[in-house]
């Protein structure tokens, strides 16, 4: 064996060890970093609360749903013969699947909403794979809150979120397999989830440190409950483009009352409360990527 051959042999062995190391080192990276329900040192909020509610509209003609070719997997075609795209679900001009959340703001008294400790719900949020389609299409969870992922199909799927601020993971779930439980430790809006076996399957997960978020229903309505009175920047996000489309406005929430924030996609943002102004897009430390 000459010198050149030896060099290549050493390179091949080094590469083998790297691959083995990578294979052995893979771990459940999507699990909790901590199960703590509150920030160390931060006090929970106690006091009067209100709500933020509104309706999401779609202006103009929504794009027609496109039929999805499921011929690559007969089980998908059988379970959902009329499967079509669901990125823009508009009913009577109202838009579903818009993730609305408080981006930042101050509670009456001057404290930032992120300065309080917000407990993590113990109930898991459900994400089902049914008819080769994610249900729901858009969902929100708090940091470290469990997401229970089920497979109701007669075929296997793989769940592959691509976060920017949390560890990426990719896991196969066979038909009939028990639910997979995962969570994300850091706030992130919004994490795309896809199935690499069925590339049309997409979902989006909003991970928030506070409980102040909701997803619009088919009638376009949403409601964020339990909000301390104060002034907030509310953001509405919908899928589209590389990172989604967002609209935002400032909303005042009175004690035991409701602040209203309607959004419109398709053309311009509509604010019902015309006295509200758009705040600078400053990220709270708690939401900082």
């Amino acid at each position: 064996m000459n010198k050149q051959t030896k060099v290549w042999l050493v390179l091949a062995i080094a590469l083998s060890l790297l691959a083995l190391g990578s294979a052995c080192g893979s771990k459940e990276s999507g699990t909790n970093e901590s199960n703590s329900t509150s920030d160390a040192g931060a006090a929970p909020y106690s006091g009067p609360t209100g709500t933020i509610a509104g309706v999401i509209s779609f202006e103009g003609t929504p794009p027609a749903p496109t039929k999805i070719d499921t011929s690559a997997d007969a089980a998908c075609g059988k379970a959902n013969p009329n499967l079509s795209t669901d990125h823009t679900i508009v009913t009577d001009g109202k838009l579903a699947n818009v993730f609305v959340y408080i981006k930042e703001g101050s509670v009456d008294g001057g404290k930032k909403v992120g300065d309080y400790a917000w407990s993590t719900p113990t109930t898991a949020v459900q994400l089902d794979q049914k008819g080769c389609h994610y249900s729901p299409h858009v969902l929100g969870v708090q940091t470290n809150q469990k997401i229970s992922i089920t497979n109701s199909d007669q075929t296997q799927h793989n769940i592959h979120p691509s976060p920017k601020n949390n560890p990426e993971w990719n896991q196969t779930q066979a038909n009939g397999a028990p639910p997979i439980e995962k969570s994300f430790a850091r706030a992130e809006t919004l994490i795309p989830v896809k199935c690499n076996q069925h590339p049309w399957m997409k979902a989006y997960i909003g991970v928030m440190k506070t409980p102040f978020f909701d997803v619009s229903e088919t009638n376009g309505a949403y409601e964020i409950k339990g909000v301390p009175p104060g002034k907030y920047t509310v953001v509405a996000w919908r899928e589209g483009g590389a990172d989604g489309q967002t609209k935002q406005m400032e909303v005042t929430v009175p004690a035991n009352g409701s602040g209203k924030a309607d959004f419109a996609f398709g053309s311009t943002t509509t604010s019902v409360n015309t006295s509200l102004k758009v705040m600078p897009a400053l990220e709270l430390p708690m939401l900082h990527r």
Binding site: L11, A23, P199, W200, A242
Partner: protein
């Protein structure tokens, strides 16, 4: 010379070309992470070949076959071939295919990082080039080739071919990086597109000038003119495929899934790129075989080492 060995080498090169197509199908269909494990696919040697598992596991099965064929080729060369440098080339091919398999494993386990995925795609072309080289070196036409008269042109064809080959290889790296820098549902990065277009212009000029020079200087010498003509035709086809691939890829982020026109055309573009590379390798090797080196180079070779 063993006719059987040459035929087997051609078989390995053809299988490798088929493997490149299978790999391109994986990328275009976004099937690279259809299974998170390796070497098993979803914990099985024979998983259900549904959805994108067809492409990902199919690619693994073809890759395994090519790996076994390469082991066979190395053994065949050891048994039949008297030229030791071809045995070393066979060993290199074997190590390249092992490294390629491990890069494939890394790209899955590390969730398709751009550097690893692009390296996997580039090494595929290098491995293909090696198998084509072995097929050329073991061919009857190579062994029986006679030296042609000295070149009459201003630029030695050997140098022109080598330059064109280097340009194509750089363009293959750029293409691999471009393809792996964004999924089908994301827009391609503009800088990478521009770099690939500039690379295409460079290849067109370098390979076009080389092939036309071969046709002009060595009219009637099919040993050289045949690969030059094929390279020229493939280059034109490749340019059209490149434009078509770009146009179909522009609209794909708005598609509900990777659609057939985009998949078919981008895969054809990758495959044609591999053929341009292979044909230029054949042309380059043949120029080195039958055309004398330039006088300056021969003088340098003849001069005793001064160190």
């Amino acid at each position: 010379m063993s006719k059987g060995l040459n035929r087997f080498a051609i078989l390995v090169a053809c299988a490798t070309f088929f493997l490149i197509i299978a790999g391109a199908l994986v990328t275009s269909n976004d099937a690279g992470l259809a299974t998170p494990d390796w070497p098993l696919s979803n914990g099985s040697f024979l998983p259900p070949m549904v959805g994108n598992m067809f492409y990902e596991h199919g690619h693994r099965m073809i890759a395994t076959t090519v790996g076994l064929l390469t082991i066979g080729l190395a053994i065949y060369i050891r048994v039949k071939e008297t030229r030791m440098w071809i045995w070393r080339l066979g060993l290199f091919a074997l190590m390249a295919v092992i490294a390629q398999g491990l890069l494939g494993a890394l790209t899955v386990k590390m969730m398709l990082p751009l550097g690893v995925s692009a390296a996997h795609a580039t090494l595929a072309q290098l491995f293909f080039c090696t198998t084509v080289g072995i097929a050329v070196f073991t061919s009857k036409s190579w062994i029986e080739a006679r030296t042609l008269p000295e070149e009459t042109g201003s630029s030695p064809l050997r140098h022109m071919c080598t330059f064109a080959l280097a340009m194509i290889f750089i363009q293959l790296i750029l293409g691999a990086t471009l393809r792996h820098s964004a999924k089908w549902d994301q827009p391609l990065p503009v800088q990478m597109i521009l770099a690939h277009i500039v690379g295409a212009a460079g290849v067109t000029i370098a390979l076009g000038a080389t092939a036309l020079s071969v046709l002009r200087r060595h009219k009637g010498e099919t040993f050289l003119t045949r690969p030059a003509t094929i390279a020229l035709v493939l280059l034109v086809v490749q340019l059209f495929l490149g434009v078509a691939a770009y146009l179909t890829r522009l609209g794909s982020p708005n598609d509900p899934q990777p659609l057939h026109p985009m998949v078919g055309i981008t895969v054809a573009h990758v495959a044609c790129g591999a053929l341009v590379f292979a044909t230029t390798i054949v042309l380059t090797l043949r120029t080195y075989r039958v055309l004398p080196a330039s006088e300056a180079a021969m003088e340098m070779a003849a001069r005793p080492q001064e160190s």
